[in-house]
Symmetry: C2
Subunit: 117 residues, 2 copies
């Protein structure tokens, strides 16, 4: 039912088609949770896991942790910390970019990467 659970199941199933090490149980063991818990998470029977567990799951499935966290409605601690150091500045920037098209944001990312300040 949940966005997060669906994505986790789908990703794992896809990997499993070619590699039987991606059973629910084995993935659960590798990321350090009980199989029954991962099962409930995948089916949205419980809320998405903590940040740490979500990140371990994303990595295990070869996905972007930030994207998995986002599906759980969360923003990673390290991003929050960056924002919290200059809250007014980042708040304004982010709200400003709310409705900006993707390519505009990408443009800025490139501009900044090329360090033209």
């Amino acid at each position: 039912m949940t966005r997060f659970g669906e994505a986790a199941t789908a990703t794992r199933q896809r990997l499993r088609e070619t590699d039987r090490r991606y059973s629910l149980r084995q993935v659960a063991r590798r990321i350090g949770v009980e199989p029954s818990y991962l099962s409930k998470v995948e089916r949205g029977q419980v809320a998405p896991p903590s940040e740490a567990t979500t990140v371990r799951l994303a990595r295990e499935l070869g996905q972007d942790p930030d994207v998995f966290l986002a599906m759980a409605g969360k923003v990673s601690r390290d991003l929050q910390d960056i924002i919290c150091k200059r809250p007014a500045l980042f708040a304004e920037l982010i709200r400003q970019l709310k409705d900006a098209p993707d390519h505009a944001i990408l443009h800025i990312v490139r501009e900044v990467r090329d360090g033209d300040w």
Copy 2:
């Protein structure tokens, strides 16, 4: 002891010098919490309040809610929601801006505001 508590007390005391309606009790009543709770919050005896309460306190004291939230180590729900809609993009942007100087970020804010994309 806490950054958050100190700022709250300091701001309130300053307002109080010229307006006795800014006693701890009266502020507590206006933002809808018990005086004893606000007292503990101000002295850092308990963790900073929830987002909603923090925002009410900030507004009551004429401060920027984002800044007060930041002192509590939090990022407001609405900003998180914006990020969660395009996690990869925003994650990269924010990490990229981590060490950028303030004026560079301000420059981008202005660029975006003037809508040159």
